[in-house]
């Protein structure tokens, strides 16, 4: 059966997302190892001083480009692809999506200039009263607004499809992509409010001060669902694509997959205080409520773990796998896309455990702002998400360009190198955190580092070096594929797994949008409303800006 095909123009549009994403990743990843090397005592920053002034400027570039730009561009491209391919129709209004894309590009450039000029060394959390150049805040706003516009383009496409197919069940990958885009629309209200009502006017000199506690609250309103915005596209691939790639397996449970996406939509925003457990300005009772909601949102992740592994087991058994564990070896490990995503999934287990510990209310006292945190999010966003995206790009790039993937063996090796490097790096970071090492500190120079930390700091450096090699392999494979003259003979097949369960069994209410959206908004108002109301009522714009880097 012939698959639905995207037009050349559409492929180009998705490809341009991929291009910006990979460019950002390649620049941002240059600085990751530099932080790691600094920890191990090999400080390279003094040698690149004409270009990058400090450890912290490097850290800002690394954080903004990797955590914000690489992810956002890749995700918007992937979601757009999923919506078109899943719904088997072109975008309703391609111009709108193009406008969104270019807004994002302009925003990235606007934010990059002050960062590179050392005018915005505020790290990717940009906590005021650290005051960056106004162009940095404006750039971030444009990125967010651009992604909104692209999201609207996707929703319009869905409405048009729904008009044409009033009775049909939304195909899973389109459905899940739309939920992810919607989650993003809801949660970015926080950071948009922060920038537009406080940071931008303040950096332009229109208001004299800001309220740092309120700014943090706005930031983390977006900050946690941001994590889900990163991970959900990887989940889409794990749920609906990976089983097919791994051995023609079927998706174990369509209805539970949909249910878990709805739970993510409803629960992932109203729990931002779990990043603010140790903030002085928020009442403990609300922190506790948010911690309980965080436990609840762990639940759909457990459901995801079951469905994904069961689907993979189905694939492994189809490939002739036997026994309790032996089927794992029968998965298509030689396919770089499969290897990358499976390894990403394995490390995500540990990322999940770390996240659960962080989110456990007072347990956070042991971990807050220690090296445990970067250790944790290098397992989630930098492995579960990034390595999965790399895996996706191993079939997506050939699909978009019609070129054959260059040296698939190197691509498989790249995934394994990343896996090994990340185990060394993040294990060391987790342990350092438990020993009390703070995050965001050039620990190679810190005066209070006890000798017990040294072996772990060395491991951080080693892990960083291995990750650097892996990143270089990835970029080589991508670049050589794009430049190669060798084209694929047939159209690359988009891997979409069928459902093991008859889709006729999927309940109607899982394809209804309104109840879930109302539920999400209501819960946000309930658990954020009172605290935000108090913070805004007692707003004190008493913090002038500081430029202390």
């Amino acid at each position: 059966m012939k698959q639905y095909q995207l037009s050349t123009g559409e492929k180009k549009f998705i490809g341009s997302h991929l291009l910006v994403a990979i460019l950002a990743l390649s620049v941002g990843s240059l600085f990751g190892p530099l932080q790691a090397f600094e920890h191990a005592g090999w400080d390279i920053y003094p040698y690149i001083k004409p270009l990058i002034k400090s450890y912290y400027q490097g850290l800002t570039v690394h954080g903004v480009l990797n955590a914000l730009v690489w992810t956002t561009f890749f995700i918007m491209g992937f979601l757009t692809f999923n919506v078109m391919f899943g719904l088997k129709r072109p975008l309703k209004n391609p111009t709108l999506n193009k406008v969104g894309f270019w807004l994002m590009v302009v925003g990235v450039v606007a934010a990059a200039i002050p960062i590179l000029a050392n005018q915005a060394t505020v790290l990717f959390t940009f906590y005021p009263p650290l005051k960056a150049n106004w162009a940095f805040y404006l750039g971030l706003t444009l990125v967010v607004v651009g992604s909104w516009v692209e999201g609207w383009g996707l929703f319009m496409t869905y409405f048009a499809w729904r008009k044409e197919n009033p009775k049909e069940l939304t195909p899973f990958i389109a459905f899940a992509s739309l939920v992810t885009a919607l989650l993003w629309q809801i949660c970015t209200i926080g950071v948009a409010t922060e920038i537009l009502t406080m940071l931008l006017p303040w950096s332009l000199g229109l208001i004299a001060g800001v309220d740092p506690q309120l700014a943090r609250t706005y930031f983390w309103f977006t900050g946690h669902p941001l994590v889900y915005f990163w991970i959900l596209p990887a989940y889409i691939s794990w749920y609906a694509m990976l089983p097919k790639q791994a051995g023609n397996g079927k998706m174990f449970s369509d209805s539970l997959a949909r249910l878990s996406f709805w739970i993510f939509l409803v629960l992932s925003t109203p729990l931002g205080f779990h990043h603010q457990y140790v903030d002085p300005g928020i009442p403990p009772v609300w922190k506790f409520i948010h911690s309980m909601l965080t436990f609840s949102v762990f639940f759909p992740s457990m459901m995801t773990a079951f469905t994904v592994i069961a689907s993979l087991e189905h694939a492994g058994r189809k490939n002739g796998g036997k026994g309790t564990f032996a089927w794992i070896g029968k998965l298509n490990w030689s396919d770089p896309s499969v290897a990358a995503q499976l390894l990403a999934g394995i490390l995500f287990f540990f990322g999940g455990i770390g996240g659960l510990a962080n989110a456990s209310y007072n347990v956070n006292l042991v971990l807050h702002n220690t090296a445990f945190i970067p250790g944790h999010f290098h397992l989630t966003v930098a492995t579960a998400v990034t390595l999965s995206f790399m895996g996706i790009s191993y079939w997506l790039l050939p699909y978009l360009t019609g070129k054959k993937l260059w040296m698939p063996k190197l691509a498989v090796a790249q995934a394994w190198i990343w896996f090994v490097g990340m185990i060394i790096f993040s294990n060391a970071m987790h342990v350092l955190g438990l020993l009390g090492a703070p995050r965001r500190v050039p620990l190679g120079l810190a005066p209070y580092v006890p000798p017990e930390w040294n072996s772990r700091l060395f491991q951080v450096g080693v892990g960083g070096a291995i990750l650097f090699v892996s990143g270089a392999c990835y970029l080589t494979v991508m670049l050589m594929t794009a430049l190669s003259k060798e084209t694929v003979k047939e159209e690359v097949e988009v891997p979409v797994a069928e459902s093991m369960q008859d889709l006729a069994l999927t309940p109607v209410w899982l394809d209804r949008w309104a109840p879930w959206i109302y539920g999400a908004l209501a819960l946000i108002v309930l658990v954020y409303g009172p605290v935000l109301f108090d913070l805004i009522k007692n707003i004190a714009l008493t913090s002038p800006g500081f430029r202390v880097w």
Binding site: P283, P284, V285, P507, V508, W509, R512, P515, Y518, G519, A522, V525, L526, G529, P530, F533, D534, N538, A540, T542
Partner: protein, 224 residues
């Protein structure tokens, strides 16, 4: 899903939100935290009369801690006491009485006579505002330090180091507010506001409303 069930759910959510906002906007119930029990004490006031914690039951008491020979520039605590005194009507206390007590931590010099002269010199209404101390220094330290959790330290030669602080105690002898450092809002403003919140709780927390007030305590609906 059943259509009625769905509409019911919407309605439930809508009601919850309206309730939460109504509660927030009109702030029908605000309370002060119950911090700890105020210490029991037995002091001597400026008229050489006994002043015990027992006789203050049922009244709101605002305490501060200082000494007469505090050299300039000394924290001007008296001004706050006087301001609160003169603005008491704003707190709408009804028939609830408020006492003001300044405890001196310098019993060697601050005899009742000295305290009386001091009270007269700052023109205080000594019926409502009493000055007291206890000649047993160890006991005094226990009352002010362990009891009111307020710092002072004898630096010798009649000089003391201390932080300017006020403590508000309710009629049940429970500390409900401490004013340990200058906040954005002036101490007097906050004390007046807190007195009215406390008075409201005393007046209203009877019968069913008591449950609502207990809920307010449970959910930490504290007045700023």
């Amino acid at each position: 899903m059943n259509k009625y069930l769905l509409n019911g759910l919407y309605a439930l959510f809508a009601i919850l939100i309206i309730l939460a906002f109504a509660f927030k906007l009109f702030q029908p119930i605000k309370v002060l935290p119950r911090m700890q029990l105020a210490p029991a004490f037995n002091l001597t006031d400026q008229n050489d009369a006994r002043l015990t914690s027992e006789e203050l039951r049922g009244k709101f008491v605002l305490y501060n801690f200082t000494y007469v020979n505090c050299p300039a520039p000394c924290y001007n605590l008296n001004k706050t006491m006087q301001e609160v005194q003169s603005r008491l009507s704003e707190a709408q206390l009804g028939d609830i009485q408020v006492e003001f007590i300044t405890i001196s931590f310098d019993p060697d010099r601050d005899s009742p006579t000295v305290l009386r002269t001091y009270a007269d010199s700052i023109g205080s209404d000594t019926k409502q505002w009493r000055f007291a101390t206890n000649t047993n220094k160890a006991l005094l330290k226990t009352i002010i330090g362990s009891g009111f959790e307020t710092y002072y330290e004898d630096k010798g030669e009649g000089k003391f180091a201390f932080d300017p602080s006020f403590v508000l105690v309710d009629g049940w002898g429970i500390v409900r507010a401490e004013y340990r450092y200058h906040a954005e809002v002036s101490d007097a403003d906050r004390i007046i506001r807190h007195l009215s919140v406390l008075a409201e709780e005393v007046r209203n927390s009877t019968g069913t409303a008591k449950l609502a007030y207990e809920a307010a305590h449970l959910f930490l609906c504290y007045a700023p």
